[in-house]
């Protein structure tokens, strides 16, 4: 398959990435080439094969249900673009 400019604009919206008009055509061509490479996967029938979850077939490690993180809000917010009263500021979402 190949990607049209409309497809790329839709994917870019899903990925929340703003693209220039002229870049859309370039990405359409790039992504079409990449998907062509990816579709070589279809040369092998994988019916019934269990997808890999972890190379070592290990189970997720459990830990005790206790607090391990200390409150570092001030430190973490010191590098935020915009905060107020311990909150991250974004533009108004609800009227």
């Amino acid at each position: 398959m190949s990607f049209s400019q409309t497809d790329v604009a839709k994917i870019a919206h899903l990925a929340r990435i703003a693209l220039n008009e002229q870049d859309v055509a370039v990405y359409a061509e790039n992504l079409s080439n990449i998907i062509e490479l990816v579709e070589q996967m279809n040369s092998i029938d994988t019916t019934g094969i269990v997808p890999m979850a972890h190379p070592q077939d290990m189970a997720a490690r459990m830990r005790d249900d206790v607090v391990t993180e200390t409150d570092q809000r001030q430190l973490y917010q010191s590098i935020a673009p915009l905060t107020e009263a311990g909150l991250y500021l974004v533009l108004k979402v609800i009227e």
């Binding site: 929340r16 990435i17 996967m41 040369s43 092998i44 994988t46 890999m52 830990r63 673009p81």
Partner: protein
Amino acid sequence: MHHKSIRQLSQHLQQKDISSVELTQHFLQRIQQHNPQLNCFVTVTEQQALAQAKAADAAIAAGTASALTGIPMSHKDIFCTHGVKTSCGSKMLDNFIAPYDAHVVAKMNHQAGMVMLGKTNMDEFAMGSSSETSYYGVVKNPWDLETVPGGSSGGSASAVAARLTPMATGTDTGGSIRQPAAFCGLTGLKPTYGVVSRFGMVAFASSLDQGGPMTRSAEDAALMLNAMAGFDPRDSTCLNREVEDYTVNLNQSLAGLKIGLPKQYFNADLDSGMAQKLEAATNLLISLGASVHEVDLANTHLSVPVYYVVAPAECSSNLSRFDGVRYGYRCDKPVDLTDLYKRSRGEGFGAEVKRRIMMGTYALSAGYYDAYYLKAQQLRQLISDDFKQAFTQVDVILSPTAPSTAFKMGEKTHDPVTMYLSDIYTIAVNLAGLPALALPAGFINQMPVGMQLIGNYFSESRLLNIAHRYQQQTDWHVQMPAGFA
């Protein structure tokens, strides 16, 4: 001093022939002299380095030092360093001062007392095979300034090869330690998935990412891995294993070693010059007691297609955290929340990162999951099974690290797929979570040739042993790029 191995530097420090401060000043001076040419460092932490060196000298004087205390090193700019900019080669993180240390940084610089000289340049978010996608400009290969150093850990490779740092950390998602090691004539090791903690390592594709050492020799790599590896409860995939000393088996005999040569790698597609160098290397290993056997990695040709589903899918998810709200780049004067997200990401990420996020977003979008991500994870199992089968017959698999020596700058930047294919020999290893080591095996037209040794899970010690025995018989790894003596 910059020609000495890590073991030699350690001896000089312990015997107090030289102080850590003097050693640190020596390397800082070399960085100042050569970095403008190579662009391998994005940040040099001079003040901090000298303070760490002073503390190291005090520890050595007090007799509380470890073998690596006071030895200078550098971190790929993907490892979070408390109070120091951690850019990951991206405009997105150009203003990001990490509020904590990566586990690897805590272990190496605080626990072992090594001195951090600075942070090395890299492909943006570790996406690339040439170190040409960094926001801070291309990195150059000291062996030929017209060629790339490989990527994504190209800054680390360039810096170690030019002797601006005795060692540097790298990360490897599809070959990002091994391919630059090959292009710059270094020894680079990607450990078994889960051996080195990913805590504080900016995530690209979490099921593939693994940190590892980039050094001049296998002995140096073993010493460095001792300081990097180890259990960390903060990385849920980090393995809780007994602490290993990777140096103890370095001198073990190679008698009886079974080496596998994959028939899919040694075919008509392999460059004849590369084939010759690898044959010579194989013959040397045979003279040391090894035997050679053909192995079959039947699904290995699907590694690159599988990787370009798995890695972008995981990257699209991981990089969704960059939203212009909590840290990193925020666009100017957003009109609404969607505009804030879209323009912060559109302006903050470079072209290759955007391509991969979009590829991953598409592969994971409604209705396509089975056709792409699920299919890729099934094939990943088959690729891994091939290795499992091969390791019932042989101890180690030998292959080229890359299809060629370092290529010219700009040669592959116009066609992403051509660039992706420069990792054909390294990617399968990440998909299977195996360890693999790259080391120099000769030169073609004065450029280093890379050889790769792939081992079974947790065979790092054996890989380092084979490489060390090989390096005792060869001098490829001690050769210096002209102009950096």
